[in-house]
């Protein structure tokens, strides 16, 4: 027996749920239930999302261009490899890699008796907090690398 339910939301997004129950010849055996769910966005929302992601990727590429030159000028040659590699991998692997775990945990904690469905945006506070700390440290402590490298006489 197959049941299909299609929900269309106010914003145009659609969800289709298909539930299939397979009954055995033995009446005492419970039916085997399989569920599948497919969601898709309305055309307008989809292209808007593509635009937002494109804009964010544009910012990433604008940073990735000059950052290579900027970072290598921060440290002398003797320690340059370690000083670039270690923070990069800690940043990507630990802070980036643990983001889904921490964001999911924050969402779980945001569910209270007064708000059982939780706050879907609470997980954003983690990358916001890390970015804010990085901004303050970068603003206060990073030197003008061209002058600092020239002082060291080491490019």
């Amino acid at each position: 027996m197959t049941k299909t339910a299609i929900k269309v939301f106010q914003n145009g997004n659609t969800t289709k749920t298909v539930a299939t129950s397979t009954f055995s010849a033995e009446r005492s055996a419970p039916p085997k239930l399989q569920k599948s769910k497919v969601s898709w966005m309305s055309s307008g929302n989809f292209w808007l999302l593509v635009l937002f992601v494109f804009i964010q990727i544009l910012y990433v590429t604008m940073v990735y261009g000059p950052i290579a030159a900027f970072l290598v000028e921060l440290f002398p040659t003797r320690i340059r490899y370690t000083s670039m590699s270690l923070p990069y991998h800690i940043g990507n692997g630990i802070f980036g890699g643990l983001t889904p775990l921490i964001a999911t945990r924050l969402f779980d904690v945001s569910k209270t008796p007064g708000n059982p469905s939780g706050d879907p945006f609470v997980g954003l506070w983690y990358p916001i907090a890390i970015s804010a700390v990085c901004f303050v440290i970068g603003f206060l402590y990073l030197p003008n690398t061209k002058e600092a490298a020239a002082e060291r006489d080491d490019f």
């Binding site: 630990i94 643990l98 775990l101 945990r105 206060l140 402590y141 030197p143 003008n144 002058e147």
Partner: protein, 71 residues
């Protein structure tokens, strides 16, 4: 600016200590509240990873106080 950098050093050290304290306190509260595996898996992952990072933040604060980042 120099004063701001030194003051920042104190802030980073205190932030590192506070973060470790809050993590350990929250973990022990959740462990005592329920024996569920979900909370344990989460804190057994987070605490060993973030304690060295907070130690690094404290070390950064110490060097800020020493004036190592004056240019």
């Amino acid at each position: 600016m120099k004063f701001l950098k030194k003051f920042g050093g104190v802030v980073w050290i205190l932030l590192a200590l506070l973060a470790v304290y809050l993590m350990v306190q929250q973990a022990s509260t959740e462990f005592a509240a329920s024996p569920a595996l979900d909370a344990r898996i989460f804190w057994y992952t987070i605490i060993p990873v973030f304690i060295p990072i907070m130690a690094g933040l404290g070390l950064f604060g110490y060097y800020c106080l020493k004036g190592e980042y004056e240019h």
